[in-house]
Symmetry: C2
Subunit: 437 residues, 2 copies
């Protein structure tokens, strides 16, 4: 099975765990059988491999997410990077071209396309395999997966099938309806459109060439920012007469808000937390070092990270976006290709961060115009290079870098350090990359 996983943009609906640079699919919140936690993207990737160990998985994502995906899925995972955001149709076309032109997959093969964020079980991936086989048959140009509705939701588009068979042609599509209309659709046997489909690669590529002017993957990649933003539904699905739908009645939860996220959690408490016996239906998700204590509250989600603290009625939590938009955007935690950092103190004229580098990784060789920096290594071993001068470092070693001075650190083992930044105008923009001499 060939599968394109669409790993979407940053989401603010799971603040404070997701933010402008960390998307919800990277939050490690789902408990595995071995007791460790995994993120949405790790869970889905693991489930695909468990269902079909030969599955060829390609993650279609923005450049900003590449580091996080490699950190979570390993260096070997295949990524089709989008140079910029251009909605789903150009993204799928680029990924399809990546499969044929870069990975050398036969355009006659089928491909399954699905978002990375639904919370699903093994039967979903078995269904994707069937979907792939059905697309290969060529009875239709597109085969959608239609989720059997569990309530008259206003959040989804609806697919009205011709017959009640498991696989049948699509009669019509309906936009997100009112609950009233949704009830009516469901009576007609309608299914939710979850944006999951299979088709032959050559079909996707043909549609791409019809609508966009490019020769091959490399050409499309280079022209990508000139492409029109357009969704796959609008560009292809709504205009295609030969579409089948396959009915899927297994678990499919769209994890976009704290309400649905907590429904999918195995445990009430992730991280340091306690609750008294009068708490009911409370979830605590705590990424801080200090404990959360909850008493006497019901139907509430409590989440804390270095970005902030969120306490909400679960239903109400889905309306958080306008409030999160108001917050000033100082990013307090970030994952990078080389590791991660966390802001531990902010003062006028200084900022202190904790930096963790993965073994074998290093920062870019870089300099800052407007700040001095002081590193104190707290664990691990490695080497620093400052203006070309190399030095071995370990716990307790201090390296000072004046503004303008070029520097990097190369971790031999996992290496942690405290970085104190001193300057009147500290900003993440103040960074110039250099080649190592």
């Amino acid at each position: 099975m060939n599968i394109i996983l669409l790993s979407g943009g940053s989401g603010k609906r799971l603040w404070p765990l997701s933010n402008d640079i960390r998307s919800k699919q990277f939050i490690k919140i789902f408990k595995k059988e071995d007791g460790a936690y995994e993120s949405m993207v790790q869970r889905v990737y693991r489930q695909i491999k468990e269902t079909d160990e030969n599955a060829k998985v390609t993650v279609a994502t923005s450049k900003a997410q590449i580091s996080a995906i490699h950190n979570q899925l390993g260096e070997a995972v295949c990524i089709s990077p989008e140079p910029c955001r251009r909605d789903t149709f150009p993204a799928m076309a680029l990924a399809a071209a990546h499969l044929t032109d870069i990975q050398g997959i036969d355009p006659g093969e089928s491909v399954v396309v699905c978002p990375v964020d639904p919370y699903v079980e093994k039967d979903y991936f078995e269904a994707l395999k069937e979907l792939s086989i059905q697309a290969e048959k060529g009875e239709a140009n597109l085969v959608l997966l239609g989720m059997a509705p569990t309530y008259p939701s206003e959040k989804y588009g609806y697919i009205i099938p011709e017959k009640a068979d498991k696989i049948t042609f699509v009669k019509t599509f309906q936009e997100k309806p009112t609950a009233e209309k949704a009830k009516d659709y469901i009576k007609q046997g309608a299914l939710w459109n979850g944006g999951v489909f299979a088709c032959k690669l050559e079909y996707l590529l043909r549609k791409a060439h019809e609508l966009m002017d490019f020769t091959d993957y490399q050409d499309l990649y280079e022209k990508y920012d000139a492409m029109t933003k357009i969704s796959f539904d609008y560009a292809v699905v709504e205009k295609e007469p030969r579409i089948q739908v396959m009915r899927f009645a297994g678990q499919w939860k769209d994890i976009g808000t704290w309400n649905t996220m907590t429904e999918a959690m195995e445990e009430a408490i992730v991280g340091k937390g306690m609750m008294d016996e009068t708490c009911k239906d409370v979830h605590i998700i705590n990424e801080m070092d200090v404990p959360i204590l909850a008493m006497g509250v019901q139907n509430v989600v409590i989440s804390a990270s270095p970005e902030g603290i969120f306490v909400a009625d679960k239903e109400q939590s889905s309306y958080m976006k306008p409030f999160v938009d108001q917050m000033d955007g100082q990013v307090m935690f970030a994952e990078k290709s080389w590791g991660s950092y966390r802001v531990v103190d902010v003062e006028t004229g200084s900022m202190t961060i904790k930096v963790t580098l993965h073994a074998g990784h290093s920062m870019n060789y870089h300099s800052h115009k407007n700040r001095d920096e002081i590193w104190t290594v707290i664990s691990g071993s490695g080497r620093t290079i400052v203006d070309g001068m190399e030095q071995k470092v370990g716990p307790g070693d201090v390296v000072t870098m004046s503004a303008g001075c070029r520097h990097t650190v190369i971790a031999e083992t996992e290496l942690k350090l405290i970085e104190v930044q001193i300057g009147e105008d500290i900003s993440v923009q103040d960074k110039e990359k250099h080649e190592l001499e």
Copy 2:
């Protein structure tokens, strides 16, 4: 007016703002007219001075609180320090001896004794003045302030007066009753016993000499840890036949739990916080740098500090103590005579703290056996002394101290620094003080 303020022990019922070393009376939570915040102890001290600018105030407190009291009330405030905790009777006796033997106050004068933590207005202090004058008259040996009950509380002892007059003799005392019994007492005109009284200093001292073997203040101070723990109520009040009570019907709130604390707060949000319009009767008290967002919750208190995060139904919050007792006691924030510190990162083998020194203050000259330390000054200016070597420091300067090395920092202006501690066995106990050479 002579007044002894009893500044009690550490309280866990206002966690995470109070803890083993920071008591509730030092939390800056009450908004003044000028917009700044003050603590219970600052509020009470200010109110006393506004009522009687010549009032002689003595704060009776444990050694551990001396720094916090000087930080909040200034260096001039008179403190009677208790060498160790020995309940209220020895504490009052020691304070009374301090007034006569150290401050030279005539034992014939009266003194008012009251706890530092009720939330009261100016009329309360006017009542204390009257209480003091009444005690001076000598009609009774003790004059209690009796609070007019606002509901049949089970939390307080009750005073049954002989008559309904404002000032009258006490008929009997009643222990904390059931609500049923409390109703009955209130029908009889009973008043709450808030532990507030006035008497002549010589009366307090006579009782002290009757029950404890000491000569003067210095002698009592030195023998203090050999004294029996006994409460003033048990040792004196219950045995004294000549007690008057003065009725007080003004505001008097006992701020011992989050429930009563939030009732006394002028504002719903102290610190960085936001709530949506579906929140009702919610209080946010946030000492962290990051924001708290509350949505759709009612009758809830949310409090965050470097010690932890508390989310509770207000009623339920009064049962927090057993949960707080379970938490491991790493103190994450502390006020010292020279300033304050906050733990910003804890790792195996290292700890990072932010230290703030007041202008003109310095740490003790000290050393550690089991850890190296590295200071990076982030703001202000001062001098460090390391093994006798003095050095001027300012922002960006780094000072490294190996284990065993003696060190201090003297702040000229307010000075802030990041201290990284490196060692396998980091502990607050690992500290040896030295004389400056």
